[in-house]
């Protein structure tokens, strides 16, 4: 998956580290999406250096991201944020130790005029992020539904009415 050319009109980016508990939601959802996305829709898995995302989404018309969200008391809850109307607060996203999480990368890309016109984020609330741990039961139970909702999202984005050209 990694290294796929991001020239597709719709790009799905799964964020997270599978070795840090619920931070692994992104890669887990990506595994479910593998081979199921429409032709021409690229799927990337990223962890760590999120500044590099700005390079990944160059030229992309619509971006769908899946990432873990910080604990708010409902682990496994799936939130859909359309960044045309919703705000991806830094508090909601998990801070990376380098200070550049998804919210910062999107904000920086917007300031630089490099952000995709449409960005939809699926944020799955986590509850444990310790190194060396697997997904919590609540988050593991949300993987399949998140993947299905992303497939449906991509389908909607590819419809002509969405204003995003197909492959």
């Amino acid at each position: 998956m990694s290294g796929v050319d991001a020239a597709g009109r719709v790009l799905v980016i799964a964020l997270g580290n599978p070795d840090r508990g619920d931070d692994g939601i992104g890669p887990a959802v990506a595994a479910r999406l593998e081979g199921r996305l429409p032709p021409g829709v690229a799927l990337l898995v990223r962890r760590g250096d999120l500044l590099g995302l700005i390079e990944d989404w160059a030229g992309v018309a619509a971006l769908v991201c899946v990432d873990a969200a910080a604990p708010l008391g409902e682990p496994g809850r799936i939130r859909r944020l359309d960044l045309a109307t919703d705000e991806l607060t830094r508090e909601l996203s998990l801070a990376s130790c380098h200070g550049f999480g998804l919210a910062e990368a999107v904000e920086l890309a917007r300031v630089l005029g490099l952000a995709p016109p449409r960005i939809v984020v699926y944020a799955v609330e986590g509850c444990r992020f310790m190194g060396g741990t697997a997904l919590s039961a609540a988050v593991a139970a949300a993987v399949a539904e998140t993947a299905e909702r992303i497939l449906a999202e991509v389908g909607r984005l590819l419809r002509p009415a969405a204003g995003v050209a197909g492959p």
Binding site: S2, R47, G48, D49, L51, G52, I54, E55, C97, H98, G99, F100, E104, E107, L108, V111, L112, G113, L114
Partner: protein, 429 residues
């Protein structure tokens, strides 16, 4: 007596989690502490009993910004223990990989983490609104460094292609060719970056550091050399423990390193530059002079200029290596494990990184010692804080806080590496 305490509980734009605690009593700074509260990660302990071949990939996990530094230092130390020398194109490829790490790490720090301080922005995002072209240029520089890491290391973060004796796979000339064009553009961007940061307003401060860095007979140091200092130290890296010691301090989960005979010292770009100015190409020396630097720079705030110069050097060195590259016949030289002790010391972006491995006959690790650059710089960073805060004691707390945070970022501390992020507390009485 008036006592004041300035405290920053969680510092931003540093790698990892730390705090700053400043105590002022009777008009003078009585304590300046860089608190490091990330939990220790016990790498030295968890390596015990592991095989030598696993070591480069395990130590790479110490840092997501400078994994190559850990890998390079480990392989050099293990090869030292086994009596193996890696020369020629394999050595050059290692240097090329290290150039990639210097470029991406320095570009991130100079523009995204450090420059906002000098220009009065809270972060790089706000700075990008006014200096968008500079930020785009930094992203392109970082991308060039990442490309080197990806092609040589297999991936950009935590490369997987480094092994004791060389690499698992070496690139073809055709694989390196596209990097050269990217690096030529990066080189031009680096020159612009030097000129941009040289114009920043630098608070006047000269610190009497003892600089410590590697020195090589011919090269600006990356992978090897003798350990030298600005006060006459000149030792083989195997003698590190006779001259340096580590001490525990209550406010830090990282050990503090000191010269046994003289105390605090400084590693990193300022030290490398001061001790190896003559190893820089003449046109980079000329650019340094144009940027207002002499052969030695003792103003820690100007470290941003030295980092930019080192980005330029790394771009040019990478281009030189790529131009001369001929794929070696083998990706790695044979290695036969044996019992013994090996030492490695390389120049991570943040400074000298030293490793020692004691090995059993089967090549398993019996004892490991890893001394990262930030641990070595902690006492000097704290001394900087005192020097920076003292002339400002009558000034508003916000200014003292701001200047102290900048002072810490001068050294691009990698707290995750050192743990063993940053909070400022100012205590004023």
């Amino acid at each position: 007596m008036t006592t004041k305490r300035i405290k920053v509980d969680y510092m931003a734009r540093v790698e990892g989690e730390g705090s700053l605690d400043l105590h002022i009593e009777g008009g003078r700074v009585t304590a300046a502490r860089l608190g490091i509260f990330e939990p220790p990660r016990f790498f030295e302990a968890l390596l015990r009993g592991r095989g030598f071949a696993e070591t480069p990939d395990i130590v790479a996990r110490i840092c997501g910004i400078c994994p190559v530094a850990y890998q390079m230092t480990a392989v050099h130390a293990l090869e030292n223990a086994f009596g193996v020398r890696v020369e020629g194109q394999l050595r050059a490829l290692r240097r090329l990989l290290y150039c990639g790490e210097w470029i991406e790490s320095h570009a991130l720090h100079v523009v995204m983490l450090h420059a906002p301080d000098f220009l009065g922005f809270p972060d790089a995002i706000r700075m990008a609104a006014e200096h968008g072209e500079r930020v785009r240029s930094a992203l392109a520089l970082k991308k060039a460094g990442n490309a080197l890491m990806r092609v040589l290391g297999g991936r950009e973060i935590h490369p997987v292609n480094v092994r004791v004796g060389g690499f698992y796979r070496v690139p073809s000339r055709a694989e390196l060719a596209p990097l050269a064009e990217q690096l030529r553009q990066a080189r031009d961007r680096a020159v612009e970056l030097v000129r941009w940061v040289a114009g920043f307003p630098f608070p006047p401060l000269e610190r009497d550091y003892e600089f410590v860095a590697l020195r090589h007979p011919h090269e600006y140091p990356l992978n090897e050399g003798r350990l030298v200092s600005s006060r006459g130290l000149d030792i083989d890296i195997a003698d590190y423990e006779t001259e340096f010691e580590e001490r525990q301090v209550p406010h830090s989960t990282a050990l503090h390193s000191l010269l046994k005979r003289r105390g605090a010292y400084l590693v990193g770009p300022l030290a490398r530059y001061a001790l190896n100015f003559d190893r820089l190409p003449e046109h980079i020396q000329a650019l340094a002079r144009e940027a207002g630097l002499g052969p030695v720079c003792r103003n820690p705030f100007q470290s941003i200029v030295v980092r930019a110069l080192e980005i330029l050097y790394a771009c040019e060195e990478a281009l030189r290596i790529i131009a001369a590259y001929q794929p070696p016949a083998v990706a790695a030289v044979p290695v036969e494990p044996r019992s013994g002790t090996g030492f490695g010391c390389t120049e991570a972006p943040r400074g000298t990184l030293w490793h020692r491995y004691d090995l059993a006959a089967d090549g398993s690790l019996e004892r490991v010692r890893i001394v990262p650059p930030t641990a070595q710089n902690q006492p000097s960073i704290e001394a900087d804080l005192e020097a920076v805060a003292t002339p400002l004691l009558g000034q508003p707390e916000a200014l003292i806080r701001e200047r102290c945070e900048l002072s810490i970022r001068n050294h691009d501390p990698c707290i995750s590496c050192a743990t063993h992020f940053l909070k400022l507390s100012l205590h004023r009485r």
